[in-house]
């Protein structure tokens, strides 16, 4: 067959000569494409947000700048709806409660199933992902009677947390499952048990600490969801943040405060995300 022979001399190049072969060229073309894509999409996603922010700084006369809308967050009030700032507070509390209940409900159960009741794992996964298939709008129609019963206990908007936990399940479960799968829970628990730990200790002191990242992730996803939830609160005639904003926009269209509050909640979500990525990086730095 064919022979490979070596031939003639090629000049020895300087050590940092860039590759000009096929792969190099292809690489450069790809990078061009990538940066074009990133720019286009970056603009698409950024511009509406900028518009939102811009309008939040709009003054009484078109084209002027003012912080009125931002100051109004604290003071806005209108008949028929609760004061904006109290709704903001309640929604934040709702986020905290929902996250807390979520973690307490889901994490020990997940771990317990993984360690002791394996055959329920599939069922749990199915149930946790089911809310994705049952639209909130359907859920809320069926929730009417149930919430009527609960409403007797308390009319507070905070009662929404019962259903918000369900809504957040798919997202939180995925994050938590990823965290749980990343560690060898069975081996860890067996090691702990052989050293004399009770099941409670195993779950709380051995497994859960290894899931901090995932739990933080789930917590943030849940909070983001609660802050952005509209449909169910709306149907059940509660006033959470989104419902309040909606009402304001219907009563006084283009009220500046809706833009400022929206921008604020976005910034808040963004800050939450930054916290998550920083916390993660620090953990990764721990040698082990």
């Amino acid at each position: 067959m064919a022979a490979i022979t070596s031939v003639g001399e090629t000049p020895l190049a300087a050590p940092d000569k860039r590759p000009v072969g096929m792969q190099g060229r292809r690489r450069r073309r790809l990078n061009l494409f990538r940066y074009a894509v990133f720019t286009v999409f970056g603009l698409f996603f950024l511009v509406p947000l900028l518009a939102l922010a811009r309008w939040s700084l709009e003054g009484a006369k078109l084209g002027s700048w003012s912080l009125t809308s931002w100051r109004q967050i604290a003071s806005y009030s209108n008949e028929g709806i609760p004061p904006l700032i109290s709704t903001v507070e309640i929604t934040l509390e709702l986020a905290v409660i929902t996250s807390a209940v979520m973690l307490v409900l889901v994490v020990p159960t997940m771990i317990w199933i993984r360690l002791r009741v394996r055959w329920l794992a599939r069922t749990m996964e199915f149930l946790c992902l089911l809310p994705l298939t049952i639209p909130a709008i359907v859920l809320v129609v069926g929730l009417g009677p149930i919430y009527n019963k609960i409403a007797h206990l308390s009319l507070s908007t905070l009662m929404l947390f019962w259903v918000y936990v369900i809504l957040a399940l798919p997202y939180a479960y995925r994050a938590l499952a990823a965290g749980l799968n990343a560690i060898d829970a069975t081996t860890l628990s067996e090691a702990a048990r052989s050293l004399g730990a009770s099941w409670f200790s195993v779950i709380v002191r051995v497994i859960m600490p290894n899931m901090w990242d995932a739990m933080l992730n789930a917590l943030l996803l849940t909070s983001a969801l609660v802050l952005g939830e509209f449909t169910i609160a709306f149907f059940l005639l509660y006033f959470n943040l989104q419902v309040e904003l909606y009402s304001i926009s219907r009563n006084t269209p283009n009220a500046g405060v809706i833009f400022s509050t929206s921008t604020a909640s976005l910034l808040f979500a963004f800050v939450l995300l930054l916290i998550l990525s920083f916390a993660r990086r620090r953990r990764r730095g721990i040698p082990g």
Partner: protein, 354 residues
């Protein structure tokens, strides 16, 4: 391949490498991980670009040619079969790209599968085959396009030991049958020595020695080669007048002009044998057995000589007379040995990948 260099940032993967393959021969590139053997292969395949140098096949310069235009067949370490195609479609893929008719594609694909012994599995999917079978299909696929060169990138590394040995021989058989020029990359010296026409031992981007397996083994060109291929005892010795004296035995030198002085001699364990079966007296080659490793027909006996440790490879029948703690007298066969003046240069390489 001539003068090939490749850098990744500050790491020099290849340092002006020259390599010529003769038609129909199988050259194995052997070396620890990071030595540049895979880079060489990929350069030849066109999957990477060289910084300097040229590559010529059958007299034609292909350095600037993209991988898809080079006429080479490549077998990867793992995962290279297309999972959504049957075995037959995988093998026929290259022919399909060359617009061969469906009927002829099928025939040729079956021919190739016959060659590797997998024609029964033609309608199966890759995930239904074992690792060894998958690699055979990959081989069939590479050969189906009748390339000028066959490239094998550690094809056996991901397989079980038993399968590895079988497949290795099969690859060699097929390669000889088809008569195709082949470049085979591996970190397993047993593989390289077993099937290659010539072995290229590489280290840090350079070829240290390129010769037949026997030559590389029994006449290593450098200390690194001697150490990487097979085992060596490292013993202090003194050179005088073209010979080296090691622990009371005088041995011929492999290298022609070594100046007189203190050296480190590299002695193969097979060259170390038992002096006699009688009760040994004291001597530079008398010591206590520390360990005996059973290797089948032979056994490796590690002996503590007081100021050094030596390994001897003895027939098991002899080794069974010894036990840990017993004393034994050894002798060294007068085979030519390699010496190194610099103890550092003879030191072993870092651990290679399993």
């Amino acid at each position: 391949m001539d003068g090939l260099s490749r850098r990744y940032g500050t790491v020099v993967a290849l340092d002006h490498l020259d390599l010529t393959l003769r038609p129909g021969e199988l050259v194995a590139l052997l070396g620890p991980s990071g030595c540049g053997k895979t880079t060489t292969l990929r350069l030849l395949a066109g999957l990477e670009d060289a910084d300097t140098g040229s590559i010529t096949v059958a007299g034609k310069d292909i350095t600037r040619l993209p991988a898809s235009k080079r006429d080479m067949g490549m077998v990867f370490q793992a995962y290279s079969l297309f999972p959504h195609m049957t075995v037959r479609d995988n093998v026929a893929f290259g022919l399909r790209l060359r617009r061969v008719s469906a009927a002829e594609r099928g025939t040729r694909a079956m021919e190739m599968l016959e060659l590797v012994g997998l024609s029964v599995q033609a309608a199966r999917y890759p995930h239904q085959l074992s690792g060894g079978q998958q690699q055979r299909v990959a081989l069939a696929r590479a050969l189906a396009i009748q390339p000028q060169v066959l490239l094998l990138d550690e094809p056996l590394s991901a397989l079980d030991a038993k399968v590895r040995a079988q497949l290795r021989d099969q690859i060699r058989r097929i390669q000889l049958e088809v008569g195709i020029t082949t470049l085979f990359v591996t970190h397993d010296q047993e593989e390289a020595l077993a099937i290659a026409d010539r072995v290229g031992v590489m280290r840090e981007g350079r070829i240290e020695q390129l010769a037949s397996p026997t030559e590389v083994y029994s006449r290593p060109a450098t200390a690194f080669v001697a150490d990487f291929v097979g085992l060596s005892n490292r013993l202090a010795g003194e050179v005088r007048g073209g010979e080296v004296t090691v622990r009371g035995r005088t041995l011929p030198l492999m290298q022609p002009d070594v100046p007189d002085g203190q050296v480190v001699a590299l002695v193969r364990p097979e060259a170390v044998t038992m002096a006699s079966h009688d009760e040994p007296e004291a001597g530079p080659l008398v010591g206590m057995v520390i360990a005996i490793t059973f290797l089948g027909a032979t056994s490796r006996v590690t002996v503590d000589l007081g100021d050094a440790t030596i390994m001897a490879q003895l027939p098991t029948s002899d080794a069974t007379t010894l036990a840990a703690g017993s004393r034994v007298a050894l002798t060294i066969r007068p085979d030519p040995v390699l010496v190194s003046a610099d103890a550092e240069a003879a030191s072993p390489e870092a651990e290679e990948e399993a």
